[in-house]
Every structure is written in C-alpha cells, then in structure tokens.
Amino acid sequence: MSRLYVARNPKVAARSLDGEMMIMSGRDSTLFTLNKTATILWQSADGATPLDEIVTHRICSEFDVEPAEALSDAETLARELASHDIIQISEEPIAQPNPSAGESR
C-alpha cells in the first residue's frame, strides 16, 4: 500500500486561539475550526512526513486509539481537508515553500 503525504496550503489563513485552530479557505472564505486531531494533522502536514508516521508519532501517542483505526480516520480527514484546499495530499513528498507551522501572524 502506498504512503500518503500531506502538506498545508500556504495560501490558507490559520490562527490558533485559546487552543482552537481556526482556518479560513482563501478560495471561498469558509471558516473551519479544527478539533485536536485535525489540529495535530494540520501542524504536522509538512509535505515530507508520511501520514502513517504522523499518526504513529503524533496522534497515537496523544490519544488512546488503535493505529489502524487512527490511520483510517486520518486519511478520511486528510481527504476532507484537501477537498476544501486546506491541505494537499499526494503519494509523493510535497515541496513546501515554508516549513514552519503555517500560522498567520
């Protein structure tokens, strides 16, 4: 099975406030509030780390969840975020212009 890579869309506006991550789509101005899992996924989506490693090292270590179930959920979430242009997904590593956490200042 091929690995999946995820990368934040650098044109998306994002801000963490009081532990809540809010993201606004530059395409249609839709506002999203990410839950904790989605926030970890967003913060880890550097284009270079495969999704299964993000799940193993960042999500399973934080939440009491089976790795296979967590990976399946993360893939679903990643595809949903990608459908809103918030992240990119690819079976190859994705070059990122800015490797930082992607939050606007």
């Binding site: 506006a13 801000r15 406030l17 009081d18 532990g19 606004m24 530059g26 395409r27 101005s29 506002l31």
Partner: protein
C-alpha cells in the same frame, strides 16, 4: 452644416462613506437625483475621490438581482458581477465603470464591494451588525438576519445615535477601531448618521427571557466576528488580510454575547 456630434453633459456626485469619497459620473440627471435622495447625508463636496465610477445605464431588461455576487481580480483589475449589474475597477488608477439599470440597488452593491476591498487592505471591514454611538462610544450588535439588529436599533433611546441597523463600517485607527455611520439599511429603512466613534464593544445578539451580557471565549469571539464580516472577493491575499484583521480586532475590542428581551430596558446595559 448641423453639428453631428454634441458634447453630452457629464454629471457627478461624491458619496462619502467611512471617510472614503467615491465619485459617480453619469449623463442622466434623473439618476443623479435618485442618488442624491438615496445617499442623503453621505453626499460630499470632497474634490479628491478614492474611486471614480462611470455609470452606464442599461435598459430595464438588463437583468435581475437574484444571481449571486461574484467578485474576481485579474492583473489588478476587479470585476463585480450580479444579474442586475456588472462593474470593473482598477485599483492602481482608482477608476472603474458600472453598467446597471436606473435604480439604487446595483450601485449600492458596488459601493459595498468596493469598500470591503479597500478596507481589507487597511485592516478594516464591513460587518453584518447594527451600530450606535452612546456617551461618545460606538457599540456594535452583530447577528444574522432575524437576530435582532433592527429590533435593538428600534429600541435605541434618544441619547443614542444610530449608525446603521444593518451593516457597520469598521476602520482600524490605532490604538483600536472606529465605527462610521452608513447609508446601508435593513428593515428599519432609515439611513445612519454620518458620524463616527471609537468602538467600545461588540455584542453578538441572542434573544432570550432576560437582558444580560455574558463574556465569550476568544475563539468564539473570532468565529462570531468572522461569521458576520462581509466579504465577497475570491482573492486569497485579501481573505488572509480579513482573517488577520478579525483576530486583531478581537484582541483589542471586547466581544460578548448580549441576550435580550425585545424591550427598551436592554439599553440600560449599553453604556
């Protein structure tokens, strides 16, 4: 030999909202007169305009207002479209044109869009909210249609100056933000006063069994604000600007929830 070409009289009117003068040119005296009535209190004698629009009046069959608004930008040239109007504006030359029928609805929409674009670059925005000045401070009452914007405006006491019952004009002015009156009306159908004041508070409206103000967490405040900001453009840079402005705003201006019963006693809380 008779003159085949005669010079057409060009008429103009400056409409100044939020301190931003927009000059409208037309050859139709009836349309100028219509604008003078529509924007009474906001007609200015300013000589320098931030934007000049040439209005080309189309026949009544031009189109209806039902289609969604589309605002796009290509190489610095903005296009605003709805069924009943089409407009273009170039920010570098500050000039544009509008093609619409002879009614105030098209130009009203164009003015709102143009103001949102200019404000977005300056850290301001238009917001779905009523606003009023009391004791030298501006208060905004935000909410979707039916939340109570018109109701709270109608209940305002005589010492409150109504800025709008529908769309508030917010400009950044260090160290905070200032609200201006607008001619953009809701059900009250009454133009706001063309004055301004520093914003002291924003209330997200909720109707209930008692009058009370409750603090809300910063995240909810930002969400509530963004949900009510008017923004039409499909432009990633400007969306980011508006997003940043909303967070800056909630870090400087208190945002609370105002639950109220529809009677005038609620204004005892607004001081």
């Amino acid at each position: 030999m008779p003159e085949l070409i005669s010079e057409v009289d060009r008429l103009s009117l400056v409409i100044e909202i939020g301190g931003m003068p927009v000059r409208v040119h037309t050859t139709d005296p009836g349309f100028i007169s219509l604008l003078q009535d529509r924007y009474a209190g906001f007609v200015s004698s300013a000589e320098q305009a931030e934007i000049d629009f040439d209005v080309d009046l189309a026949p009544p069959s031009f189109g209806g207002a039902d289609a969604p608004v589309r605002v796009t930008q290509r190489h610095g040239r903005w296009t605003f479209e709805r069924g009943d109007f089409r407009a273009e504006w170039e920010s570098s030359t500050r000039r544009g044109w509008i093609r619409q029928t002879a009614n105030p609805y098209g130009i009203d929409a164009v003015l709102r869009i143009a103001h949102t674009l200019v404000l977005a670059r300056q850290g301001g925005f238009l917001m779905h909210s009523a606003s009023a000045i009391r004791n030298g401070k501006a208060f905004l009452f935000a909410g979707v249609s039916g939340a109570g914007k018109t109701t709270i405006s109608r209940l305002a006491p005589s010492d409150a100056t109504l800025l709008t019952d529908e769309i508030s004009y917010v400009r950044k002015q260090d160290p905070g933000y200032v609200a201006f009156g607008t001619p953009f009306t809701g059900e009250l159908a009454k133009l706001g006063e063309n004055v301004s004041a520093p914003i002291a508070a924003v209330y997200l409206l909720a109707q209930g069994q008692e009058n009370r103000i409750d603090p809300i967490p910063p995240g909810e405040a930002a969400r509530g604000l963004l949900a009510n900001v008017l923004f039409f453009a499909e432009d990633e840079d400007l969306v980011q600007s508006v997003f940043r402005s909303a967070f800056d705003f909630v870090s400087r201006v208190p945002v609370s929830r105002l639950t109220f019963v529809p009677d005038a006693r609620v204004w005892a809380l607004i001081r």
